[in-house]
Each structure stands twice: as structure tokens, then as C-alpha cells.
């Protein structure tokens, strides 16, 4: 078991290094000179050279990469071209906001998804199952940025119940929660659909087992059947939830753009428009690292829940 955990940890390292190469390469994917964005149009040749040197752009690529990597692992993600602030600071603040949003939407998706999935499984083939399955398909098919706009139209524009934009700057907890409500719902739709599907099929598998059939046939022990189903569907559900939490972090870009929620997605969006490559790199690198570590955590958790996996 611990060997498996160790093995997964070691295997995550090349993945992270590979991810860092991709992120590093982004600067060079960008059309035009990366310097051009930093410099005023009328800068002299000497000025350009000086800046190039300062950024290390005059060295061969592998050297640039290693130097960059060396700085990155110590937490130095460079300076924003637009604001001149250290990228790590911006990313840290944004990440906090994004984590809050990802957590709340995951929680919502988890609760609603499980309820929906179980409901569908216990009422298999009946109207309620069809409705629940329908909601699940809608959840995975809906463009969540559009769902966000629809929510704004309904709850902000028409009903005027909830704010449409931003996070509360100084309004306290209640205000913050009110700002969070709509983006949370929009972001919860996809994992809700996914979790509901997984729970439904896992529960159906359990319900098809013979002794469960026997229990049900006796009409007794509703509670026992229920606990059994929940227990057996748990490992898969937790895996999905963990993975979805990661997707929430990365996938929130579009929803954050819709709601101007000051998270990583919003920062990314801003960086794209200002062609602020250091910020772009910083955000993506931090999110990817987070995502890889989260996957790792899910894997490890899973081996504790179901030790058979480690032997596989």
C-alpha cells in the first residue's frame, strides 16, 4: 500500500516536469517577440537588448528553461508585465477566491448529484428515473457560461434577488455568499450531472446483487439496502468528486468571466487580454500543479478505501 503511494508520488514528478515544459513553451508559442509586449513602441535597440538580458531571453532555450524552473520551484513566478507586481501574489489571492467557489460548487454538486443518482436508481425505469437521468444529461451538455448568463437573466435582471457581478468587497459574509450563489450554481451543473450518473450506475450494480435482491424481495430492511448501496457506491463517487473538484478549478475560467468573480479564471482572462504572459504562465502552472496533486490525493484516498486497487 505505502509502496503504491510512493510509486504514485514518484510518477507525478515527470508529469509535473512535463507540464512545466508546456507552460514554459507557451512564451515561445506566442506570436511575435515576447519582449514587444513589455516595451514601449519607440524603445531603442539598446533598451530592448537590456530588457532581453534582464529576462534572460538571450540565452539558449534549455538554459532559460532550467533557470526559469529553478525560480519557479522557489515560488518566484516572475513579475506581471501589466502591473509589475509579483505574479505569485496575484495568483495567491485569485486562487483563494477560486478555491472557495470550487469548494462550494463541488459541495452542491455532491449533495444534489448523490440525491439525484440514488433517486434514479431506486426508481429505476420509472418517471422519476427518467427525469433524474434527463437532468444528468442536461448537466453534462450545458455550456456553463451560458447557464451563468441565464441565471443572471433570471435572478438578477428579472427577479433582482441576487447580484450579478463580482465578489463583495467589504459587505461581510452574507454579502459574499450572495455574490457566490449564482456562480456556484452555474459551476455545479457539470459535476452534478457526472456524479448523478456515476452514483446511479454504481447503485444499480449493487441493487442487482443477489442478496440485495433477496432483501428487497422480503420487503424488509429498506435501511440496510440503502446503507449497503451508499457504502458500495462511495469509492467511485469520491473519485469522481475529487476529479471534478480539479476540473472546477480549471473549468471555472469561463464562469468567472461571466460573473467577474475575482478568481484564477478571471486573472487568466485578464492576462490573455493584456498579453501578460508571465501571469498567464503563473496561473496555469499553479492550477496544473494543483490538479496533479489532487489527482494524486484521489488515487491515494482510493487505495485506502479499496486496497485492491494498489495491487492492480
Amino acid at each position: 500500500m505505502w509502496r503504491y503511494v510512493g510509486r504514485r508520488l514518484v510518477l507525478a514528478i515527470p508529469t509535473l516536469l512535463g507540464a512545466s515544459i508546456i507552460v514554459f513553451a507557451m512564451v515561445h508559442l506566442a506570436p511575435g517577440d515576447p519582449i514587444a509586449a513589455v516595451m514601449p513602441v519607440d524603445a531603442s535597440k539598446e533598451q530592448v537588448e537590456a530588457v532581453k538580458k534582464a529576462y534572460g531571453f538571450d540565452q539558449p532555450l534549455p538554459v532559460q528553461y532550467l533557470k526559469w524552473l529553478g525560480r519557479v520551484v522557489t515560488g518566484d513566478l516572475g513579475k506581471s508585465i501589466a502591473t509589475r507586481r509579483a505574479v505569485i501574489l496575484d495568483v495567491r489571492d485569485a486562487l483563494a477566491n477560486s478555491l472557495v467557489l470550487a469548494a462550494s460548487s463541488s459541495l452542491m454538486a455532491f449533495v444534489a448529484g448523490i440525491a439525484l443518482g440514488l433517486l434514479a436508481a431506486f426508481r429505476q425505469g420509472r418517471a422519476l428515473d427518467k427525469i433524474a437521468s434527463g437532468i444528468a444529461v442536461i448537466g453534462v451538455s450545458v455550456p456553463h457560461y451560458w447557464a451563468g448568463i441565464i441565471l443572471i437573466i433570471i435572478f438578477s435582471v428579472q427577479l433582482n434577488w441576487l447580484p450579478a457581478m463580482g465578489a463583495a468587497s467589504d459587505g461581510g459574509v452574507v454579502d459574499y455568499a450572495r455574490h457566490m450563489a449564482l456562480p456556484t450554481i452555474a459551476l455545479a451543473l457539470i459535476p452534478l450531472g457526472v456524479i448523478a450518473r456515476v452514483v446511479r450506475s454504481a447503485a444499480l450494480d449493487v441493487l442487482a446483487q443477489e442478496f440485495v435482491l433477496a432483501l428487497r424481495a422480503k420487503g424488509l430492511a429498506h435501511r440496510r439496502v440503502f446503507t449497503h448501496v451508499v457504502k458500495n457506491a462511495a469509492p467511485q463517487t469520491i473519485t469522481v468528486l475529487g476529479l471534478q473538484f480539479g476540473f472546477q478549478l480549471g473549468g471555472s475560467v469561463l464562469v468567472e468571466a461571466v460573473f467577474s468573480w475575482p478568481g484564477t479564471g478571471y486573472l487568466l482572462n485578464l492576462a490573455i487580454f493584456q498579453r501578460d504572459i508571465p501571469v498567464l504562465q503563473g496561473v496555469i502552472l499553479v492550477l496544473a500543479t494543483f490538479f496533479v496533486l489532487l489527482n494524486l490525493l484521489v488515487d491515494v484516498l482510493q487505495t485506502f478505501i479499496d486496497p485492491r486497487i494498489a495491487r492492480h
Partner: protein, 295 residues
């Protein structure tokens, strides 16, 4: 994971011999949800294809005086956008763009990914490790993030959207194709073909591809919906198709400011994305069931 379904007993029509594909077609013909979704897809595809002939107006011509006309009007049945351009015409033209931007990456990923996956799976050893570990790296990013990262670096425009989305989907196809290849390669009929003296190419063509193409194709079809959402999403962020071209995600973005004036018209492009993506999901689900592929 068992990707490849080897049909054991299939109910056949009146005992007549039936090929696998005929059995699949026979099952699909009985699946009402899939048929309806397929019909909707066909309608969307045909109307997008025929946009130049059936669109009532020039999608790029509008007048400020006609801004945000409500739906239901005689000349503009679906209203007009924030620049007074006919929504119906723009939705028809936009469908072309969105479908191209959403389908092309999946097709590219299907072709490239199948080739890479089959090579990795059949060759095994170092080749396999090299290909698969490289693919793993792309799994370090959630799909949306990877698409935005690459598009963000490359800059806006349809070609860049296609490139970045292809990069998102290739590793996924490679994984499925590789695991299917490894699975089929280990079956005895492949060994039997080798024992008959068959070389690599006949085996790949007649034995491997014939058995893995179905599952890989179905997998690719499940990705179309996501690809469409992402393609439109990139335009929505201003990273995809550039104005004034009509594209659903871009239309959604520019109309977004107008929700306080007209709540219905700005929702239409998103509705179009939603319906298309859902139809693709339903069709690929039905296909998967009909082909007995479990994921």
C-alpha cells in the same frame, strides 16, 4: 477497462446471419431517444450547411435603429442583435462556424490519436512508454484550462482554436486507442494471424483496426459535445473566431451586455450550443449502448 466488446450472443432477426454493424444498426433503429437526437442533429447540420441559401438576411448587415428587436417579428423572426443584425441569419451562419470549430478538432484527434495509440499499443516497450508518458503530461491540465492556455498563448483566430482543441483531444483518443490495441493484440486471433505467417500490415488492417475502430469512434463521438462547448467557449472569451464573423460563442459574448434590454435574444446563441451539444451527447450514448461498449 474493457473497451472492446466481443459480441457473445446477439439476438438476430429470424436467425439470419447478421454482421456486427447490421446488429448495431438494428438496435439503433429501436432506440427512440437516439433517433430523435439524431434527427435534431441532422436538422442543425443541414440548416448550417444551407445557411447561404436559406438565411433570410445578410448576417453582417444591420442598422443601429433596429437594435435588439424582440423575437416574433415579421422580418426578423428571432429578433436582432445589439448591432441590429438579423438573429436567425446569424444563428444559421454561426452554426457553420461552431460546428466546424467543434468537429474539426475531434476528427483531427481521432485520426492522429488512433495512429499514435495503435503504434504505442502494438509496438509496446519503449515506444509505448514514450508516447503514453507524453500524453500523460497533457492530463496534468483540465481540458478547459489546456485549451485556454494554448489559445491564450497562440492568440485569437479560428486556426488557433482548432490547433489548441486538437491538442486537448489527441491525448484522450490516444489513451483509448492504446488500451483497445493492447487488449485486442493479446487475443488469440491475432496470434493465429501471426501463426499463419501474416505480417504487421495485414494484421493491423484486418484484425486490429477492424476491432478497435468502433470503440475509438464512439469515444470520439462522446467528445464532440465537449469540443463544441469549448470551441464556443474560446470565442466567448474572445480567443476564437474574430468579429464580425457569426459564431455562437462570440454572439453570446457580444450580446451578453444587452440582457438588461432584451432578456430573450441574448440567450439564443447559448441555447443553440446547448441543444447541439446535448444532441451529440444523446447520439453518442445511444451509439455506445448499441455497440455494447462499456467505459
Amino acid at each position: 477497462m474493457s473497451v472492446v466488446a466481443l459480441p457473445q450472443e446477439v439476438s438476430t432477426v429470424a436467425g439470419a446471419p447478421m454482421s456486427y454493424w447490421r446488429t448495431v444498426a438494428w438496435r439503433l433503429a429501436r432506440d427512440r431517444a437516439t433517433l430523435v437526437a439524431g434527427a435534431i442533429l441532422l436538422l442543425i447540420a443541414v440548416s448550417a450547411l444551407l445557411a447561404p441559401w436559406i438565411a433570410p438576411h445578410d448576417p453582417n448587415a444591420g442598422s443601429i435603429r433596429l437594435r435588439l428587436a424582440p423575437i416574433g417579428g415579421a422580418t426578423h423572426p428571432l429578433g436582432t442583435d445589439e448591432q441590429g443584425r438579423d438573429m436567425l441569419s446569424r444563428l444559421l451562419w454561426g452554426g457553420r462556424m461552431t460546428l466546424v470549430a467543434g468537429l474539426t478538432p475531434v476528427v483531427v484527434a481521432f485520426l492522429v490519436g488512433t495512429v499514435l495509440g495503435v503504434i504505442a499499443g502494438y509496438a509496446g516497450g519503449l515506444t509505448n512508454t514514450l508516447v503514453m508518458r507524453t500524453m500523460d503530461v497533457f492530463y496534468a491540465f483540465p481540458a478547459v484550462l489546456l485549451a485556454i492556455a494554448i489559445s491564450g498563448a497562440l492568440g485569437p483566430g479560428l486556426p488557433n482554436t482548432l490547433i489548441s482543441l486538437s491538442i486537448v483531444f489527441i491525448p484522450r483518443v490516444v489513451r483509448v486507442a492504446e488500451s483497445a490495441t493492447v487488449q485486442v493484440k493479446g487475443l488469440e486471433f491475432v496470434a493465429a494471424a501471426r501463426a499463419s505467417g501474416a505480417g504487421v500490415w495485414p494484421i493491423l488492417r484486418h484484425h486490429l483496426l477492424a476491432n478497435i475502430l468502433g470503440p475509438v469512434l464512439v469515444f470520439a463521438s462522446t467528445q464532440v459535445s465537449l469540443s463544441i462547448i469549448l470551441a464556443a467557449g474560446l470565442s466567448f472569451l474572445g480567443l476564437g473566431v474574430t468579429p464580425p464573423a457569426a459564431e455562437w460563442g462570440l454572439m453570446l459574448n457580444t450580446l451578453r451586455q444587452s440582457i438588461y434590454v432584451n432578456a430573450i435574444v441574448p440567450a439564443l446563441p447559448g441555447l443553440a450550443i446547448f441543444v447541439t451539444s446535448m444532441a451529440f451527447n444523446l447520439v453518442s450514448d445511444g451509439l455506445r449502448d448499441a455497440m455494447e461498449i462499456r467505459s
